[in-house]
C-alpha cells in the first residue's frame, strides 16, 4: 500500500479526488483499522458529576446501578475544523523530478481534505495565497464541499511571490473558529518572519501546523559546474559555483530548517518538513495526531 502514497505514483493519476481517495484509503488500510472505526461518540472516560455539568452527559444506566452520578465523556465529540493555507507562489512550481512542490502540496491538501470530510466529517476550508489571498473556500461539511476544495486546489496555479505579511490580516478574518490550521509552503523567508506572521493564528486556539514542502534538490542541490541560477519569483540571476553549493549552501539550508523547527515549536506550532520524494503518510499522520478526539 505504501506505493499508493508515493508522489511519483500519484503523479500518474489525473484527478485530485482520485489521488486523495487513493492516498487516504491506502493510508488508512495501512493502519490496519477499519475506515469507519473511531468515528465520533467514542467512549473516553467517566468523570464525577459536578454542579453545572450538562445532565445530558450523565450515564443514567450507571446511576441506576450504583446511584452515583457520573458523566460519560467521549472523544471527538466536537468536529475539528480544518483549514489549509496553501502557498501558490512561483517558487512552489519548482521540481527536480516528476512531482513539483506545488503538486506535492496539492496531493497533501487533497488527501487531508478527503480524510477530513469523507472519513472524519470535519469541516474543511482552503485559503490559497501568494503575496495576497487568491482564493478562499469557507470550511464546511456541506454536500459538495470536497469537490469545491479540490477544484480550488486545481485552480491554484503558482504565480507571483510569497508574502506572508500581506495576507495575514485576511487569515485572521477567515479563521474565527478554532480548529486545525495547516500552512503548506516552501517558507523561503526568515524563520523569524514566518513565525511572527503565522503565530497570531494560534490566538483563536487553533492548532497550527507548518508543512514545509521542499524538493530534495533544494536541500542537497548538485552542480557539476558553474551555473547561472534564476530566482523563479524575482527573476534575479546569479552565477554560482559548485563548491559553494556543496559547502556553504548546505550549511545555510540546514540552519534554516533547524531554525524553522525550533522557532515554530517554541511558538507552540507544529512543524513538519515534507520532501517531495517522500510518501504522503507523514502529513496524514500529523493531521490525525493533531485532530482532537483522534481518528
Amino acid at each position: 500500500m505504501q506505493r499508493f502514497l508515493d508522489p511519483a505514483v500519484l503523479a500518474g493519476i489525473s484527478g485530485l479526488d482520485l489521488v486523495a481517495k487513493t492516498v487516504v484509503d491506502g493510508f488508512v488500510a495501512g493502519l490496519h483499522r477499519s475506515p469507519d472505526f473511531g468515528f465520533s461518540q467514542e467512549f473516553a472516560e467517566y468523570r464525577a458529576y459536578t454542579p453545572g455539568d450538562d445532565l445530558r452527559h450523565v450515564d443514567w444506566n450507571l446511576f441506576a446501578r450504583t446511584e452515583r452520578c457520573y458523566l460519560k465523556r467521549y472523544r471527538g465529540e466536537t468536529n475539528s475544523q480544518l483549514t489549509i493555507l496553501l502557498d501558490a507562489s512561483n517558487s512552489m512550481n519548482y521540481g527536480s523530478h516528476a512531482v513539483s512542490k506545488m503538486d506535492y502540496a496539492r496531493y497533501t491538501a487533497a488527501s487531508l481534505f478527503y480524510l477530513a470530510i469523507h472519513n472524519q466529517h470535519d469541516p474543511a476550508g482552503l485559503i490559497v495565497f501568494d503575496d495576497e489571498v487568491r482564493n478562499y473556500i469557507r470550511p464546511s461539511t456541506r454536500q459538495g464541499q470536497l469537490h469545491r476544495l479540490l477544484a480550488g486546489l486545481e485552480q491554484a496555479e503558482p504565480r507571483a511571490r510569497t508574502n506572508f505579511m500581506k495576507p495575514l490580516a485576511h487569515f485572521q478574518e477567515f479563521l474565527r473558529r478554532r480548529g486545525v490550521v495547516l500552512v503548506i509552503s516552501d517558507f523561503y523567508e526568515s524563520p523569524e518572519t514566518i513565525v511572527k506572521t503565522i503565530e497570531p493564528l494560534r490566538f483563536h486556539g487553533s492548532d497550527v501546523v507548518l508543512f514545509h514542502v521542499l524538493d530534495p534538490k533544494e536541500i542537497r542541490p548538485e552542480l557539476r559546474g558553474p551555473s547561472i541560477l534564476v530566482d523563479m519569483e524575482t527573476e534575479q540571476r546569479l552565477e554560482v559555483i559548485p563548491e559553494y553549493v556543496k559547502g556553504e549552501y548546505r550549511k545555510k539550508m540546514d540552519s534554516h530548517l533547524e531554525q524553522m523547527s525550533e522557532r515554530t515549536r517554541a511558538a507552540g506550532m507544529d512543524y513538519h518538513l515534507l520532501v517531495t520524494d517522500r510518501p504522503l503518510d507523514a502529513a496524514l499522520s500529523e493531521y490525525l495526531f493533531l485532530r482532537p478526539g483522534g481518528r
Binding site: 533544494e218 557539476r224 541560477l229 534564476v230 523563479m232 524575482t234 546569479l238 559555483i241 563548491e243 559553494y244
Partner: protein, 673 residues
C-alpha cells in the same frame, strides 16, 4: 625528419578552431531556475578558472587531433640509413683452399678477417665461413666478438679446391633464410682456377654486397708435379714404370730435379728440362718397392713460392701374383688359352690363371682366388655354385662367359637371372658388333676397338637388376654387371673361345681382361692415388653379408676421420686431406690410398681485375657503386621512411579519446540544463 608535402602544414591553422571553441568563445550557460536565491551567493571568478581547467583535456585532444590531421596530409618521414649498420649481416668468408698455403696467404686472410670483425659495431651480427671444397659455416649469425675471433683463428690450411660457384650458391641459400642485407667480405687469393665454368654460378644475390680482399697481390711462378702414373699393385718391380709430369705455371725454362721417394727414401733421381710455362715428363723405369703397401711420392726441387705442391703421392702394393680360378668345359681349352694370355700380357700383370674342368671343381675353394671365371660351362656342381654364391656375397667376384652352353639352360648360375634366348648371327650369314658401351664402368675404361669385334653368337640374358655395360648392335646385352652382397658378377653374353666371336683376336681384349681382372679382384680400390674431396666407397649399398661390420680408417694425420658409429654405417668416405689413408674394409682387406690435392690449385693465376669488378657488381650493380663508395667513406645511404601509418594510428587514438571525453562533458551539460 621532413615532410613529403609540406604545404599541407598550412592546415596547422586549424588548431585555432579548438582554441576559439575552448578559450576565446564566451562560454554560454543555460540559466537554471531555482525556487529562491535566498541561500545562494555569487561565485563568478573561480568558475571561469574552473571551466578552463575542466575542458583543458578536451581542448588538448582536439588541438592534437587537428595537429595530427595536418601532419598526416603533410606526410612526415624520417631519414634513416637504408639498413642501419647494425641491421646488416656481416659475413666473413676465408678461403682455405690448397693454394692458400702459398706464402702467408692464409695468415694474411685471417688477419684481414679479424680486422673486419674488429671494426664492426657491437650490435651488428656477424658470421664466419670457410670456403674450400664446400662452404662451411663456422658460426651462426652472432654478436659475440670472442666467438667470432675464435672461429677465425681456428681456420686451418686445407687441401681442397675452392670454387666460387659454391660461394654464390651458399649466399643464395643464406639470403633465403636471412632477409637482412648481407655484407660479404671474401678473403681469398682470387685464383683463376677457382672460377666455375659458368659465371652465373658465382653471381651474388641482390642484397649481398660483396667486398673482396685479395691476399695475393701478384702471380707467383710455380712448378708442380702435375700427375703421376704408377701401378697400384705390382708383382715384378722391374716391369713397373712410373711416369710423372712436371708442370710450370708462369715459370721460365728451367732444369728441375725429380726424385722418386719410396717409403721416405729417395730411390731414384732424375733431371728434367721444363720449358717456360710448360710441361715435361719424367719416366722411372723401375719401382723397387718391398712386399706390402708402400708409400711413394714424386718430388721436385721447385724452390718456388708454393712448396706444398712440389710432391705427388701414390701408394703401391707389391704382392705375389694372385690366382684366378678358370672353370671351363672339358673340351674347351681355347678359352683358357686366350683369357690366360690376355691376363699375362697386361702391363701390370699380377694374376695367374688356374684352369680347371667344371666336373672337377666341386671342391674348389673360391676364397683362395682373386676372382673366378666360369667359361661356357653347361653345368657346375651345386656345391661349387653354393660356395660361389657365398663367396660373392662376402665380397668375391665372378666372371661368367655365357657361351653356347647357356642356351640350353633356363638360369645362369650365380648370376641368378635366366637366359631367355640365343642369337645365332652366323646362321643368318653374318655377325653382330658392339653397339653401345658404358665407358664409365671400370672394366670398359678403354672402350676403343670394341666396334671392330664380330659376334656370331650371343645368349640373351635377362638383365633384371643388373647394369648393362655393353650391348650389341641389335640391343642384346653383351656385358652385364650385377652386385650381389659385397661382390659382383660380370656376365659376358658370348664366349672367350674365338668361336662365338673374334674378340680374343682384337687388341681391345687385353685391356678388357686386365681391367676386368682389376675390377673383379678389387685391386683398384686397394691402392693408387685419389684427389682431395673424392669419395671412396666403404661398403655397398645392399649390404647383406656384412651387416654392421665396421671399417677402420686412419687419416693422414694418424687420426680416425670417422667416429665408431660412422665407421659401422658409413657408405662412403670423403677424402678431405692430402696424404695417405689406411683403410681396412669390412671384409678384412687392407688398402692404402694416397690422396693428392687437385693440381688445378697449383696454377696461381689470378682472376683478371675486370672480372673481379664484374663479380663484385654482379648482384647489385646500382647499389654496389653507391654503397661501396659509401662504405669506403664511412657514409650511410639514407632512405626516407614515411611515418604516415604511425600518424594515422595516433589520429585514431586521439579521436577515440576525444569522443570519450567529449561525450562525458556533453552529458554533464545536458544534465545541468
Amino acid at each position: 625528419m621532413g615532410f613529403l608535402a609540406p604545404w599541407f602544414l598550412a592546415g596547422l591553422a586549424a588548431v585555432g578552431l579548438p582554441v576559439y571553441i575552448h578559450l576565446l568563445r564566451r562560454h554560454v550557460t543555460t540559466p537554471r531556475p531555482v525556487s529562491s536565491l535566498m541561500f545562494f551567493e555569487r561565485g563568478t571568478q573561480s568558475s571561469t578558472r574552473h571551466r578552463k581547467l575542466r575542458y583543458l583535456l578536451l581542448f588538448s585532444l582536439r588541438a592534437l587531433l587537428m595537429l595530427l590531421l595536418a601532419l598526416v596530409f603533410a606526410n612526415p618521414f624520417l631519414r634513416r640509413s637504408s639498413a642501419a649498420a647494425s641491421d646488416r649481416l656481416l659475413v666473413v668468408v676465408v678461403d682455405n683452399s690448397f693454394s692458400m698455403r702459398a706464402g702467408t696467404r692464409l695468415e694474411d686472410a685471417k688477419r684481414g678477417a679479424l680486422d673486419v670483425l674488429a671494426t664492426r659495431k657491437p650490435s651488428q651480427r656477424a658470421q664466419v665461413m670457410v670456403l674450400s671444397g664446400e662452404l662451411q659455416v663456422l658460426t651462426q649469425p652472432i654478436k659475440d666478438a670472442g666467438a667470432l675471433k675464435a672461429a677465425v683463428e681456428s681456420i686451418q690450411p686445407g687441401d681442397s679446391r675452392s670454387n666460387f660457384g659454391e660461394l654464390g650458391r651458399g649466399m643464395r641459400a643464406l639470403t633465403e633464410t636471412v632477409h637482412t642485407p648481407v655484407d660479404l667480405h671474401l678473403f681469398s687469393d682470387m685464383q683463376a682456377s677457382n672460377m666455375p665454368v659458368n659465371f652465373a654460378d658465382m653471381v651474388m644475390p641482390g642484397n649481398v654486397l660483396l667486398v673482396m680482399h685479395p691476399v695475393a697481390k701478384a702471380v707467383v711462378p710455380n712448378w708442380t708435379v702435375e700427375s703421376v702414373e704408377a701401378p697400384g699393385q705390382l708383382v715384378d718391380p722391374k716391369r713397373a714404370r712410373v711416369l710423372a709430369v712436371i708442370a710450370g705455371h708462369q715459370t721460365p725454362a728451367a732444369t728441375r730435379t725429380v726424385s722418386l721417394i719410396i717409403n721416405g727414401t729417395v730411390a731414384l733421381i732424375k733431371k728434367v728440362e721444363v720449358p717456360a710455362d710448360g710441361r715435361a715428363t719424367v719416366a722411372f723405369e723401375s719401382l723397387d718397392v718391398p712386399y706390402g703397401a708402400s708409400r711413394c711420392e714424386v718430388r721436385i726441387d721447385a724452390a718456388d713460392g708454393f712448396p706444398a705442391d712440389d710432391a705427388s703421392s701414390f701408394a703401391v702394393k707389391r704382392a705375389d701374383p694372385e690366382r684366378v680360378l678358370f672353370v671351363h668345359q672339358a673340351g674347351d681349352s681355347r678359352s683358357a688359352l686366350y683369357f690366360g694370355s690376355a691376363l699375362a700380357a697386361a702391363a701390370q700383370a699380377s694374376f695367374v690363371l688356374q684352369p680347371i674342368v667344371a666336373d672337377q671343381a666341386a671342391d674348389a675353394d673360391p676364397t683362395k682366388y682373386a676372382f673366378v671365371v666360369l667359361s661356357d660351362v653347361a653345368s657346375i656342381p651345386s656345391i661349387l655354385e653354393n660356395s660361389l654364391l657365398q663367396y660373392v656375397r662376402n665380397g668375391g667376384s665372378v666372371l661368367i662367359a655365357a657361351g653356347t652352353s647357356d642356351a640350353h639352360r633356363q638360369r645362369i648360375p650365380v648370376f641368378g637371372e635366366s637366359s631367355t634366348d640365343a642369337r645365332f648371327y652366323s646362321r643368318a650369314g653374318g655377325f653382330s658388333s658392339v653397339g653401345q658401351v658404358d665407358a664409365s664402368h671400370p672394366a670398359m675404361k678403354d672402350s676403343a676397338g670394341w666396334k671392330d669385334a664380330k659376334f656370331y653368337y650371343a645368349t640373351v640374358v635377362d638383365a633384371g637388376g643388373a647394369r648393362v655395360v655393353a650391348r650389341l648392335a641389335d640391343g642384346t646385352p653383351l656385358l652385364l654387371d650385377k652386385q650381389i652382397g659385397q661382390g659382383h658378377v660380370l656376365v659376358f653374353a658370348s664366349g672367350f673361345d674365338n668361336v662365338t666371336n673374334d674378340l680374343p683376336l682384337h687388341p681391345v681384349f687385353v685391356p678388357f681382361v686386365d681391367q676386368s681382372a682389376r675390377y673383379l679382384s678389387g685391386v683398384e680400390r686397394l691402392s693408387g692415388a685419389r684427389v682431395v674431396d673424392s669419395f671412396i666407397q666403404l661398403r655397398n649399398v645392399t649390404n647383406e653379408g656384412n651387416q654392421g661390420a665396421s671399417v677402420e680408417i686412419v687419416g693422414p694425420d694418424g687420426k680416425r676421420p670417422l667416429s665408431l658409429q660412422e665407421e659401422a654405417a658409413a657408405q662412403s668416405l670423403r677424402l678431405t686431406r692430402a696424404g695417405f689413408y689406411q683403410i681396412r674394409f669390412a671384409n678384412g682387406r687392407d688398402a692404402l690410398i694416397a690422396v693428392n690435392p687437385d693440381r688445378r690449385e697449383s696454377g696461381l693465376d689470378l682472376i683478371p681485375q675486370d672480372v673481379l669488378k664484374l663479380w663484385s657488381g654482379s648482384g647489385n650493380a646500382d647499389m654496389a657503386a653507391t654503397q661501396g663508395a659509401a662504405a669506403a667513406t664511412g657514409e650511410e645511404k639514407k632512405n626516407a621512411y614515411s611515418l604516415w601509418w604511425w600518424v594515422m594510428l595516433l589520429i585514431l587514438m586521439a579521436a577515440v579519446a576525444e569522443s570519450v571525453v567529449a561525450s562525458r562533458y556533453l552529458g554533464t551539460q545536458r544534465e545541468e540544463v
